[in-house]
C-alpha cells in the first residue's frame, strides 16, 4: 500500500518533468507543424546556461531560471530565423531533417566547447522532503515546484492560445499562413513569438530538471526530447493540455511498469501503450477526431 503511494508519487513526479518539456514542444508543434527535434537540445542549452550562472556567477535559482529562459528564447528565435524560416514552404520531411540537423549542431557544438563530460549542479534549492506513513512514503518538495509550475504554465498557455488575440493569430498562422497575412497578421513575428515562448519553456525545463537531477551533459536532451515528443503525440498533437496530460500519462505508465517488475521492458511497454492508445484514439488522448470534409 505504502509502496503504491510511493509509486504514484514517483509517477507523477516523472510525468511532471515530461509534461514540462512537452509543453514547449507542443507549442511549436501546434503552430508551425514542425517536429522540432531541436527542442530537447534547447532544453540542454538551458540547463548549461543555468549551470554556468549558478556555478560561476553564483546566482540564485530564480535569477538563473529567468536569465536562462531569456537566453533560450533568443536562441529559439535565432534558430527559427536561420534554420526554419528558409524551409517554411518545403515538405514536412525536409523540415524534419532540418530540425535534426539543428539538433545535432547544438549537441556537438556544445560538446566541442564543454566536452562530453557530465557536470553537476550546485545545490541551489535546498532539498526538503515531506514524509508520510512513518517515513515510508517520501515526496521531494522540488517535485511539487515542478508540478505546480507545469500546471500554471499549462493554464497560462492555454489561455493565451485560446483566448488572446495573439494566441488566435498563432492558430490562424498554423492553419493558413497566406490567409493569415491577408488578415493583417505578421506571420514572421507570430512565428518568432511562438519560438520564443516554446524555447523559453525549454530553458526553464532545462534549469529545473538540471537542478532536480543534479547532472547535465551535452546529450541530455535526446531522451527527454523523444519522450516529450511521445507525450505530446499521446495527448494530441498541438494541444496544450494534451501535452501535459500525455506527459503524466507517460510518466505514470513507465513507473507502473517498473513497479510491477517490468523495469527491463519499461520503455518497450511505454511505446506499446503509446501505439495501442493511438490505435484506439488516432488523434491522441485529448484530440478530437476530425474527419476531413470533402
Amino acid at each position: 500500500m505504502e509502496q503504491l503511494f510511493q509509486q504514484l508519487i514517483n509517477g507523477i513526479s516523472l510525468g511532471g518533468i515530461y509534461a514540462l518539456i512537452a509543453l514547449g514542444y507542443t507549442m511549436v508543434y501546434g503552430i508551425i507543424n514542425l517536429i522540432n527535434f531541436a527542442h530537447g537540445d534547447i532544453y540542454m542549452v538551458g540547463a548549461y546556461v543555468g549551470f554556468a550562472l549558478t556555478t560561476f556567477l553564483h546566482l540564485g535559482f530564480f535569477p538563473s531560471l529567468l536569465i536562462s529562459m531569456i537566453v533560450c528564447s533568443i536562441l529559439g528565435m535565432i534558430i527559427e530565423k536561420v534554420a526554419y524560416k528558409p524551409i517554411r514552404n518545403s515538405t514536412r520531411i525536409a523540415a524534419l531533417i532540418t530540425a535534426i540537423s539543428v539538433s545535432l549542431f547544438l549537441q556537438y557544438t556544445m560538446m566541442y566547447f564543454v566536452s562530453p563530460q557530465t557536470r553537476t549542479f550546485p545545490e541551489v534549492l535546498a532539498s526538503k522532503r515531506l514524509t508520510f506513513f512513518n517515513g515510508n512514503v517520501i515526496l521531494d518538495v522540488k517535485n511539487i515546484y515542478i508540478i505546480v509550475i507545469t500546471v500554471v504554465l499549462m493554464v497560462g498557455l492555454q489561455y493565451i492560445v485560446r483566448h488572446t488575440k495573439i494566441g488566435k493569430a498563432m492558430r490562424a498562422v498554423s492553419l493558413d499562413k497566406e490567409a493569415a497575412e491577408l488578415m493583417g497578421i505578421n506571420v514572421n513575428k507570430i512565428i518568432s513569438y511562438t519560438f520564443a515562448i516554446g524555447s523559453a519553456l525549454a530553458g526553464a525545463a532545462g534549469v529545473l530538471v538540471g537542478v532536480y537531477y543534479n547532472t547535465i551533459n551535452p546529450l541530455m536532451g535526446v531522451t527527454p526530447g523523444l519522450k516529450a515528443f511521445v507525450a505530446a503525440v499521446l495527448g494530441g498533437i498541438g494541444m496544450i493540455p494534451g501535452a501535459v496530460f500525455g506527459g503524466f500519462f507517460l510518466g505514470m505508465t513507465e513507473t507502473m511498469v517498473s513497479a510491477y517488475g517490468g523495469s527491463v521492458f519499461k520503455d518497450a511497454v511505454a511505446f506499446a501503450v503509446l501505439i495501442i492508445v493511438l490505435l484506439v484514439r488516432p488523434n491522441g488522448l485529448l484530440g478530437k477526431a476530425t474527419k476531413e470534409k470533402v
Binding site: 508551425i32 531533417i97 503509446l274
Partner: protein, 313 residues
C-alpha cells in the same frame, strides 16, 4: 512501348560491365579491404534507402522505424547462418520474409494513423524491437551476436542491390505503384478511384521491409558482429536522411544519396571534434538550398505543411 529498347540493352551491359570491372579490381588488389568495406556499406544503404523510399517517398507513409526491419533481417540471418548452419541464400530470403511479416504487422496500424502519429508509432515499434532484442539471451542480448560467418562479398551486395532497385522500379511503374503514389497525393481521391488504400499501404511496408531485411542479412554476414543498438532510432534517421538527401520519390536519388553520405562520412572520420557539427551543417545546407533533395523535383513534393490541405490532422 517497345519491350526492349536499345537504351535498355546498353544499361544492362553497362551494369554487367560495372560488376566485372569492380570484381577484377578486387582480384588484383587495387580495391583493398577498406574500399570494399565501404562499397558493401554503400550497397546496403542503397537497399535500405530504396525500400524506405517506397514507403515514405512514394506511398507517403512517414516511417521512423526502418532500422527495425533491418535488425530483424540481420538477426534472422545471424541465427540461420551462425547457429543453424544454413546456406546464405536461404538466410537472405528468410530475413526478407521475417522482416516483411513485421512490415505487415506495423503496416496494419497505418489503417488508422496518419502523418506524425504514424511516425511516432513506427518509431515506437523500432524501439520495442530494439529493447526486446536487448533482452533475448539466445541472440546475445545487449552483449551482441558475435562470430557470424562472413558470406557477404561484392557479388552478393551487387546482386541484391540491383535486384532491389530493379524490382522496386518495376513496382513503381506498374499500376500498383501508381496507386501508392496516388495515396500519397490524396488519400480520399485515391479511395474514390477504387484504390484499397489499406492494402497498398501495407504492401508498401511489406516490400520496403523485405528489402530492409535482406540488407540486414548482408550486413550481419559481412561485419561478423551485430548488436541491437546498431539498429536504433538514429539508424532509422540515417536511412531517412539518405532518402531525403537524395530526393523523396527518386530511386536514383536514393542511390546517389547513399554514396554521397558515405563519402562525406569517410572524410569526417579524421576530424572527430567537429565531425557532427560539420555533418549537421551539410545536412542543413542541402535542406535549405535544395529542400527537395539532390534528385528531387517539385513534382514529388509530399507532406506539404500548412496551407489549405491542413484540414485534418
Amino acid at each position: 512501348m517497345k519491350r526492349i529498347s536499345k537504351g535498355k540493352i546498353l544499361t544492362f551491359f553497362g551494369i554487367i560491365m560495372f560488376y566485372i570491372v569492380i570484381q577484377l579490381l578486387i582480384n588484383v588488389g587495387i580495391i583493398d579491404s577498406y574500399i570494399q568495406l565501404n562499397i558493401v556499406l554503400i550497397g546496403i544503404n542503397i537497399i535500405l534507402a530504396v525500400g524506405l523510399n517506397l514507403i515514405t517517398g512514394f506511398t507517403g507513409q512517414f516511417s521512423l522505424g526502418h532500422a527495425a526491419f533491418m535488425s530483424i533481417g540481420a538477426y534472422t540471418s545471424a541465427i540461420l547462418t551462425a547457429k543453424l548452419g544454413q546456406p546464405f541464400i536461404v538466410a537472405i530470403f528468410a530475413s526478407g520474409i521475417t522482416a516483411a511479416l513485421a512490415g505487415v504487422f506495423i503496416g496494419i496500424p497505418t489503417l488508422r494513423l496518419k502523418g506524425d502519429y504514424l511516425a511516432i508509432a513506427t518509431l515506437g515499434f523500432g524501439e520495442i524491437i530494439r529493447i526486446v532484442a536487448l533482452n533475448i539471451d539466445y541472440i546475445g542480448g545487449a552483449i551482441g551476436f558475435n562470430d557470424i560467418p562472413q558470406y557477404t562479398n561484392w557479388s552478393w551486395v551487387f546482386a541484391m542491390t540491383v535486384v532491389t532497385v530493379v524490382l522496386i522500379r518495376r513496382f513503381i511503374n506498374s499500376y500498383h505503384g501508381r496507386a501508392c503514389i496516388a495515396i500519397r497525393e490524396d488519400e480520399i481521391a485515391a479511395e474514390a478511384m477504387g484504390i484499397n488504400t489499406t492494402y497498398y499501404k501495407i504492401l508498401a511496408f511489406a516490400i520496403g521491409a523485405f528489402f530492409a531485411g535482406t540488407a540486414g542479412a548482408l550486413y550481419a554476414n559481412y561485419f561478423y558482429f551485430i548488436k541491437p543498438d546498431s539498429f536504433g532510432f538514429m539508424k532509422s534517421i540515417d536511412i531517412l536522411v539518405i532518402v531525403v538527401f537524395g530526393g523523396m520519390g527518386s530511386i536514383v536519388g536514393s542511390i546517389i544519396g547513399a554514396i554521397a553520405l558515405s563519402i562525406i562520412s569517410l572524410f569526417l572520420q579524421s576530424i572527430p571534434e567537429l565531425r557532427m557539427v560539420i555533418y549537421a551543417l551539410i545536412l542543413f545546407g542541402i535542406m535549405v538550398y535544395r529542400p527537395t533533395g539532390l534528385m528531387g523535383n517539385q513534382k514529388l513534393k509530399i507532406f506539404r505543411k500548412g496551407g489549405k490541405n491542413n484540414v485534418s490532422a
